[in-house]
């Protein structure tokens, strides 16, 4: 692991700190300039990108599950910040509330419920790690190459961020069907998860 373990709470704190300028930069998201730029944005972006990538790698290389969960939390926070940077405030909030606040907590519950000692390690053969790293690196390189080569079909530049009003309307009109389906899905999931996790009375 290339980051000292002791530093991870510090990174968490840094992420929260970094969220502030990000939030400040796009106050309501409506009146954003057509071409935001400048040094500030670049700096913020690189900080956030470093946070996201670093913590994602932290997830990769952590040996125990609790650390992984914490790193994931940092990653999710960082992703939320990228949303803010992209002027998608609502999505950033959802990311923080639902993802970091809900899904991650669910996973942590899972961790707690399924390990005798949360610090237990499962070692993986070195060669296997190497193979996985090779696959991941190959993919990373090829994807980067192809993404940088691609010319995107519309280069309209940056557009104004959406308001929650617009999002809500679209969600409940155009995307009404998937919305309802997602609702049904959640209901089914609730039933299924409850069934699986419930203690059977014998």
């Amino acid at each position: 692991m290339f980051l000292p373990k002791k530093l991870f709470p510090a990174f968490t704190a840094a992420s929260l700190l970094l969220a502030v300028p990000a939030l400040a930069q796009t106050p309501a998201g409506v009146t954003e300039a057509q071409a935001p730029g400048g040094l500030l944005e670049a700096l913020v972006f690189y900080a956030v990108a470093f946070l996201v990538c670093g913590s994602a790698l932290g997830v990769c290389f952590s040996k125990n599950i609790v650390r992984m969960a914490v790193w994931l939390f940092v990653t999710l926070g960082g992703v939320a910040m990228t949303y803010f940077l992209l002027a998608s405030n609502f999505l950033g909030a959802v990311q923080l509330i639902v993802y970091a606040g809900g899904t991650l907590v669910l996973l942590v519950f899972g961790v707690m419920l399924t390990s005798k000692s949360p610090w237990a390690r499962f070692d993986v053969p070195k060669l296997e790690l190497a193979a996985a790293a090779a696959v991941a690196l190959t993919l990373a390189v090829s994807l980067c190459v192809v993404l940088m080569r691609t010319e995107w079909h519309s280069a309209e530049g940056v557009v104004a961020g959406a308001t929650m009003d617009q999002l809500g309307k679209t969600l409940l009109t155009t995307y009404l069907v998937p919305f309802e389906v997602a609702g049904v899905l959640l209901m089914v999931v609730m039933v299924g998860a409850a069934h699986l996790a419930r203690q059977e009375k014998n």
């Binding site: 089914v188 039933v191 299924g192």
Partner: protein, 542 residues
């Protein structure tokens, strides 16, 4: 699809009543689930109560699908606005027909479950909710015309499936199976979503028609389509997972062996069929986006990819089935092989040459129908044998022909049908697929004919092992079977259907062919210019 943000009254754009009617079978499924949720509160959670409610729901859904079937014409009928559900869902003969079929199959599986696991299971409401939930997901899969709905539908079909595979919580193997299924499924879904996001970036939309039009335009325009290829490959991972195409088939034998046999029956047919129909819809939209027949060879690389994958899938499935001791696992591998055959048909209707338009499509649909009955029959017999013998090993079939001829005869018919022996419907299914492949007149088509035929030969062995096992006399004289009457009825009806479908192949084929016509009547306004097509033609000719 158009964003409707600017419109003042959104609901004027479409006929709500009509659309609700067109999609009423799915709404009925949701209502059935709600009914089952309500039952424990109002009446009680006894298996009988729940199964009555579920059968009522299935019947209503079937009836509604039947009614809708009568009203959808040959063309794809759209819901909500000019485009179906704003291009998110379609209702055509294909999707509604699939729902009809699904309900029949669902009824069969439920019956099997009630005879089997239900006897020791106290959680009928959960089981039915999950089962119907996955059925709803499959219905959505075949109706979706948009990558977003497609993804959601796949999840809707998969997530309850994970849960029902490990439904029996006292079952170690089931737990392991559901874990593997879930992990593999989650990974594939994640990759698919990543692909979807790339597709969105490239196309600017997730509507399948627009994706198809964009793809065709790019390819004929000679643009660099690498990223599109990568993105579509990632999307295909999700579909391949549902179809269990090699190399995304790994979950299939493990999950199928570990699951309760009723669940295996359900997944082996319904989820694969839904995946295949979805693939078929996607491919036919691609075809529709190509403006003239001459340019069909634009899509040749796509056909080759799917064709080769199909050939590998069939071969791997058949070979892997060889050494299996567990009949369930053997049938799981055989289902991989059959998925391979069906994929072959999907690969070639990308070439709708004048005479063969839709041949691959209707061949595949026919095969699905036949496959449903033969698998229900084979799994039904295996289920009853394994309940009796306490194991799903092949030894359980020892001397079945003497111990229970009413199980052995349908099994022989089902196995013969799976092999593709003549007097059973399986032969017709295979024959039609071969015809569709041959009709393309391409190297690909004929290579697939050869591969499929050789595979049939290979598969002979392991199916025959069961037949031989049934004939072999048991050393110890075991008593005759006491199988439930309804179970015997179920498998025997399936066997008879297999024979009937063979002899009534003509009308059957015409009916099924009707299901596929709607796909080809979809017209896509393609942004492809004629100059770019000319370029593509020249290049193809070189």
């Amino acid at each position: 699809m158009n964003s409707l943000l600017g419109q003042t009254n959104l609901w004027e754009a479409f006929d709500v009543g009509r659309d609700l009617f067109l999609f009423s079978p799915m709404i009925a499924m949701v209502c059935t689930m709600l009914l089952i949720v309500a039952c424990p509160i109002v009446i009680g959670r006894g298996t009988r109560t729940i199964s009555v409610a579920a059968s009522f729901g299935i019947a209503v859904t079937f009836f509604l699908a039947w009614r809708v079937m009568g009203t959808v014409g040959d063309a794809a009928v759209s819901g909500f606005s000019a485009e179906p559900f704003l291009g998110l869902l379609v209702a055509d003969k294909l999707s509604v027909g699939f729902q009809l079929l699904l309900m029949v199959f669902l009824a069969g599986v439920s019956l099997l479950w009630l005879m089997g696991s239900a006897r020791t299971e106290r959680n009928a409401p959960e089981f039915f909710i999950l089962l119907i939930g996955s059925a709803l997901g499959m219905s959505l899969m075949v109706s979706s015309a948009n990558l977003l709905t497609m993804v959601i539908a796949i999840e809707m079909a998969s997530i309850p499936s994970y849960a029902i595979v490990g439904f029996d919580k006292r079952d170690r193997v089931g737990a392991e199976a559901s874990l593997k299924y879930m992990i593999f499924g989650a990974v594939c879904a994640a990759i698919m979503l990543y692909g979807t996001s790339l597709v969105y970036g490239l196309v600017g939309s997730l509507s399948m028609t627009e994706i198809a039009a964009f793809t065709v335009a790019q390819m004929s325009g000679g643009a660099n389509v690498t990223l599109l290829g990568v993105a579509l490959s990632c999307v295909f991972v999700g579909i391949a997972f549902k179809i269990s195409a090699v190399p995304f088939h790994f979950w299939c034998p493990d999950a199928f062996q570990g699951a309760k046999i009723e669940v295996t029956t359900w997944l082996s047919v319904a989820s694969k069929a839904a995946g295949l129909v979805m693939l078929a819809r996607f491919m036919s939209m691609m075809c529709a986006a190509v403006p003239s027949e001459l340019n069909m060879n634009l899509l040749t690389p796509l056909a080759w990819v799917i064709g080769v994958l199909a050939a590998v899938t069939a071969t791997v499935g058949n070979f892997a089935a060889y050494k299996q001791q567990s009949v369930k696992r053997m049938l799981a591998y055989s289902s991989i092989a059959h998925a391979g055959y069906m994929m072959m048909a999907t690969a070639v209707f990308i070439h709708p040459s004048a005479s063969g338009a839709g041949a691959g499509m209707s061949a595949m649909l026919m095969y699905i129908v036949i496959y449903m009955f033969m698998n229900l029959c084979a799994f039904g017999v295996t289920a009853m044998v394994s309940w009796e013998a306490g194991t799903d090993d092949i030894e359980g079939f020892n001397g079945l022909i003497r111990r229970s001829p009413l199980l052995a005869v349908p099994m022989v018919i089902a196995l013969m049908s799976l092999i593709g022996m003549p007097p059973m419907a399986g032969f017709i299914g295979k024959w039609w697929i071969l015809v569709a492949l041959g009709q393309t007149g391409t190297l690909l088509g004929w290579s697939l004919v050869v591969v499929a035929s050789v595979n049939t030969l290979i598969s002979l062995y392991y199916y025959m092992r069961i037949v031989v096992q049934m004939g072999i006399r048991d050393s110890g004289r075991r008593p005759a079977f006491s199988s439930p009457l309804s179970g015997l009825a179920l498998v025997n009806v399936c066997a008879v259907v297999l024979l009937v479908l063979f002899f009534a192949a003509g009308p059957f084929k015409e009916r099924v062919a009707g299901f596929s016509t709607s796909l080809y009547s979809v017209t896509v306004t393609s942004p492809v210019s004629h100059e770019s097509l000319a370029v593509a033609d020249q290049e193809a000719g070189q």
